[in-house]
């Protein structure tokens, strides 16, 4: 579904210096696969998402989705950001409908889909509220609905739970798995949390920094549906241990 072939991305800083965000990244995601990207800060995870979103163009290599090269933003991709970034002047419903509105595709079917999505994430009854009346977790739920409202086949999530407290984070992790089960999509999910990545993903792409490369791709062999009780399982611990080793080196991983 998503294919990155020997992709490199170099940014030119204000001083004219070249900074390599990604170097020689090759990666594939199958249709309806859940892929998590983990790695230290500066490993280019967010850049990778923006390449797939068509928001930035690769310096070298190629990004393609379903066989078509990505050269500009594509209508069938949804994005969830770290901050919910809802429009403060619009109601929750209008926020969710915002992408349709911007695309000029606002219709009755879209409205009923938006209401269904809000119900799906437990925000039924909050359609007419304003973002400031919602907690951070609820705002991010609305942000997820906004990314799904045009029924994309690809969902890109850039540390979507990074700004939330630990409990809300667990709750939303379970929620995302449920949404994905009910409405299968190809998901690329960037996170800093190794347990979160292992719990969510079919495969975890472990990246190394400066420049960002794929260190290894770890398959997670946990049965679905999954929940946080699985953290005690052998497969879970093997996967998290493997990822920690890749990121921090062998010594640190044993100590933790």
């Amino acid at each position: 579904m998503i294919v990155l072939e020997r992709v490199a991305k170099t940014f030119v800083s204000r001083g004219g210096e070249e900074v390599a965000a990604l170097a020689d990244v090759s990666l594939q995601a199958r249709r309806n696969e859940f892929v998590c990207l983990v790695g230290p800060s500066g490993c280019g995870k967010s850049t990778l998402l923006r390449l797939v979103a068509g928001l930035v163009a690769p310096t070298a290599g190629a990004v393609s989705i379903a066989g078509t090269a990505v050269t500009e933003p594509r209508a069938d991709t949804g994005i969830v950001f770290q901050a919910p970034t809802l429009l403060p002047w619009a109601t929750v419903l209008d926020n969710v409908l915002f992408p349709l509105d911007m695309m000029g595709k606002l219709d009755a079917a879209g409205r009923s889909r938006a209401r269904d999505l809000l119900a799906l994430v437990g925000l039924a009854g909050f359609e007419g509220k304003y973002p400031r009346e919602l907690s951070g977790g609820m705002q991010q739920r609305a942000g997820i609905c906004r990314a799904l409202v045009h029924d994309p086949d690809i969902l890109l999530m850039d540390e979507p739970f990074g700004a939330l407290d630990a409990l809300t984070r667990e709750e939303l992790t379970i929620e995302v798995m449920r949404i994905w089960r009910e409405r299968p999509k190809t998901i690329l999910f960037v996170t800093h949390s190794i347990p979160e990545a292992v719990l969510l993903a079919d495969r975890v792409v472990v990246m190394s920094a400066r420049p960002g490369r794929v260190a290894e791709i770890v398959e997670v062999n946990l049965p679905r549906p999954r929940d946080f009780d699985m953290e005690a399982r052998r497969e879970f611990q093997d996967s998290t241990h493997r990822i920690r080793t890749l990121i921090f080196g062998a010594r640190h991983a044993r100590a933790s």
Partner: protein, 265 residues
């Protein structure tokens, strides 16, 4: 043992209206008493009661002067709004334009408006126009700066979202950037309306046949000091009323912006 007295938080009307009003009353009474006890001559500092009676005697003409000033203030203010919005959009549209336009804007601000006013009278003639232009020149600069700051303060994620939805630049401006700038626009409008009163008076000092600024100049020339003070009080009331009008417009039409205002400004 008697129950301890409960500390009730004050009702909103008490904190919002009664407290400031009480302070004003205390101030006016103290002013009156000090002037009377120390026999301060009226041509130096008149008593509030003398200011009131002298001004009230000329209620008709004073009302006419107040209306004239209000007209100049509002025309100058509207002109600055009409000019500032497109100007801010222009400045924020590209760094090259910003680099070209900013120095010119700073030049207009570095010129003392009092010095400019007589020259404007020569250019535009002895009528309302130079007064409105001075008012505009005094008021528009902070407005341009706040609108520009608002337009550029949009979270990059929202811009990316707009681009991901293939929104045109025009749509991005109208649907994301300008609404986002509303709280900033209003903080600029609050500064601009206050400055408009200053600008109108400067214009009236230099050239006018009516208006509160004109009233101050003529009444001091004829030693009618209480009347000049009356004009001063009316000017500050005018400033407060117009400022509050802007606040009310924001609260009624952009209630969400009032909250954003408190968070960001």
């Amino acid at each position: 043992m008697p129950a301890p007295a409960k500390l009730h938080p004050l009702a909103p009307w008490a904190t919002d209206i009664a407290q400031p009003l009480g302070a004003v009353v205390v101030f006016v009474v103290a002013w009156e008493l000090i002037c009377r006890v120390f026999h301060v001559p009226a041509y130096l500092v008149p008593t509030p009661s003398a200011i009131f009676t002298d001004t009230a005697q000329l209620a008709g003409p004073v009302a006419m002067h107040t209306l004239a000033t209000t007209e100049t203030v509002l025309l100058g203010f509207l002109t600055s709004v009409i000019v500032s919005l497109p100007l801010a959009v222009l400045i924020t549209s590209s760094p090259a334009i910003a680099n070209a336009v900013y120095p010119l804007l700073v030049v207009t601000q570095s010129i003392p408006k009092v010095a400019l006013a007589p020259i404007l009278v020569v250019i535009f003639g002895s009528n309302e126009l130079p007064r409105v232009v001075v008012t505009f020149l005094v008021a528009f600069f902070p407005l341009v700066l706040s609108i520009a700051a608002g337009i550029t303060s949009v979270p990059p994620e929202l811009i990316e979202l707009g681009r991901a939805c293939k929104a045109s630049r025009w749509r991005e401006l109208w649907r994301i950037r300008l609404p986002y700038a509303v709280p900033f626009v209003f903080s600029g409008l609050k500064a601009a309306i206050t400055l408009s009163v200053v600008g109108a008076v400067v214009g009236e000092f230099v050239n006018a046949d009516r208006g509160l600024g004109y009233l101050i100049v003529t009444s001091t020339a004829f030693f009618r000091v209480p009347l000049a003070w009356g004009a001063l009080v009316l000017l500050s009331i005018l400033g407060i009323v117009l400022f509050q009008a802007v606040v009310i417009v924001e609260r009624v039409f952009f209630p969400w912006a009032v909250d954003a205002d408190k968070q960001t400004l």
